[in-house]
Symmetry: C2
Subunit: 350 residues, 2 copies
């Protein structure tokens, strides 16, 4: 099994990149140290799924073992760090990967140092800026990978599309959460752009484009990556409601308090009785929802058949991905690695 070694190489490339930025920042001012600390803490967690899909997209398309690909792939983790930091601001989340979210860390710094003004906007400001820095650094890291200029130019087209897709998908997600009458269909459209393409299909395409893959390979990666990406997000939705906080790194029920209009919620709403829908609508998005309320919503999701329908969808999409992979014109080593990654991306453990 090759994926753990690649994951380790991704980590090394990522931390090496951040470490090279460190002295420059501290030379500007030692006051910038908390930004680096917050980033170190965030990057300590994470499954590195996107870099691994990128790497195996490359290898699957016949790319070699040069270290440049690991650097280019690892840059996706900085893009993801940016998205998480800004996402947590937008959702007012307290925790991420089992640690305080970045904006909460800086609120705490504001209090600890008895700074002037309100702590909350200070935390938000710092988090917006650190997210911006991570976004800028993701493209800097990509461009700094030692791959040939023509390869990087080919990959850039995918990278550009992916960034636009994920940002637009996030906006559609915010909008969906603020609208009445979301359906399974509208929730799936959000999943497609915000999460499925961004997490799996585009990283695969990025690696393959860097390797110079022909169209049939790109299409085969889509046939595998698109359903797997949906299955990944549906699993994430289920874990967001039923997952163990020790594993998800998020308090139980956070997704419910944030009022996320997930496919799981839409499947439940379709199947629930009017009385159950009333409870669901009342609890979803209630920032003060307590443990008993979370339990009530969980029961509705289970008893309505919403959970079973969601698990069935996950299985169906994961099967579709597996079948597509079996037929894909990829190297056998990559097929094996992508099988393992499919399991990791849809596993019942966070």
């Amino acid at each position: 099994m090759m994926t753990p070694r690649i994951r380790k190489e991704v980590d090394e490339a990522l931390f090496a990149f951040v470490d090279r930025r460190r002295p420059d920042l501290l030379a500007v001012s030692p006051d910038l140290a908390p930004l680096l600390d917050a980033l170190d803490s965030l990057l300590a967690g994470g499954k590195r799924l996107r870099p691994q899909f990128c790497y195996w997209g490359w290898r699957g398309a016949g790319g070699g073992t040069e270290p440049g690909i690991v650097t280019a792939a690892a840059s996706l983790e900085l893009l993801q760090a940016s998205a998480l930091i800004h996402d947590d601001v937008m959702d007012s989340s307290d925790t991420r990967r089992g640690q305080p979210s970045v904006h909460r860390r800086f609120e705490e710094l504001h209090r600890r140092e008895s700074l002037l003004g309100a702590a909350e906007p200070f935390g938000v400001g710092a988090a917006i800026l650190l997210g911006d820095l991570c976004l800028a650094w993701s493209s800097q890291m990509y461009e700094s990978s030692a791959l040939e200029a023509e390869r990087l130019a080919r990959g850039r087209t995918v990278y550009d599309r992916m960034r636009t897709e994920v940002m637009c998908g996030q906006y559609l997600d915010v909008l969906e959460g603020a609208r009445r009458g979301g359906t399974v269909e509208t929730a799936l459209r959000v999943v497609e752009y915000k999460s499925a393409k961004y997490t799996i299909e585009r990283p695969l395409h990025l690696g393959a484009a860097l390797a110079g893959a022909p169209l049939p390979v790109m299409e085969a990666l889509s046939a595998y990556g698109r359903p797997l990406g949906i299955a990944f997000q549906l699993r994430d939705d289920v874990l967001g409601v039923f997952g163990d906080p020790a594993e998800t790194g998020k308090p139980a029920g956070d997704d419910l308090r944030e009022g996320k209009r997930t496919v799981l919620v839409a499947l439940t709403a379709e199947r629930a009785s009017p009385a159950q829908v009333e409870v669901l609508e009342r609890h979803l998005g209630d920032p003060a929802l307590d443990g008993a309320g979370v339990d009530r919503v969980r029961t509705i999701i289970e008893e309505s058949g919403g959970l079973a329908a969601c698990e069935e969808m996950i299985e169906r999409y994961a099967d579709q991905a597996a079948k597509a992979l079996a037929d894909a014109p990829l190297t056998s080593e990559a097929v094996k690695a992508l099988e393992d990654l499919a399991v990791a991306a849809t596993s019942r453990q966070a």
Copy 2:
């Protein structure tokens, strides 16, 4: 005078880039139209200083008239749009360039469409995402300019440094605003990174690096750009307190309400009586500061000699820039354009 023509070309390149993104976004969802509308509205204003400095850095270093340089230079305007959108969120500003700020626009959309949940976090979320999109698009636009790959690689080093500097400078600015006992020296350090380098020196360096300028040219551009950048920001500080809202596009006294610890404020605090300092500290950062309060602070800034000291600094730095420019190893056409830009950047009119 060449600068108006270049400004027009920058505008054309900028709007052409955004227009090429438009159909892709609307194909994802017509719900994305408000993001494009908000960006159009923001980009309708602005003096395009950064692209113009970049362009004349290029021409000054012997670069030709190929259109690629205008595209690369215009990409700085998207970076600036990102910074402004996020800055307005951090400062809770209501207006920008005489229009509602992006987060306020989306608050208004939330109310108009009677969306669920609170309008304010919806506005903030949309603005964070549109700022992210502009940041991603700025590098996409830069890379899409038709300049040779080696030129773009040289320029990228400057671009990367500039982005990191402005984001770190912004954080230091937020921190400075939250600390007691700011001095002229600490305020100037913020100015250097957040504004001076970002607005003038780095755009000049970017153009020159793209043109393949040798070290003496880069140093000459610094000798001109660094003091001019400081003069630019000090002028901005003065306009932030005394400027005509019709010209600045910001309500009178906004900088005071936000509690900005500008060099102007530090110069005033150094010169004011204890009683004046007490009034100054009480009013600075008061979000409810009314017109009478703004007038009281203005009077203190004038009577203490803070304003005169600031005007003197502006003149000194602008003179220093002018002298450096006279000796600079640049083409005479560029020297003339940079003289005009120096006037535009430090003019008493916004």
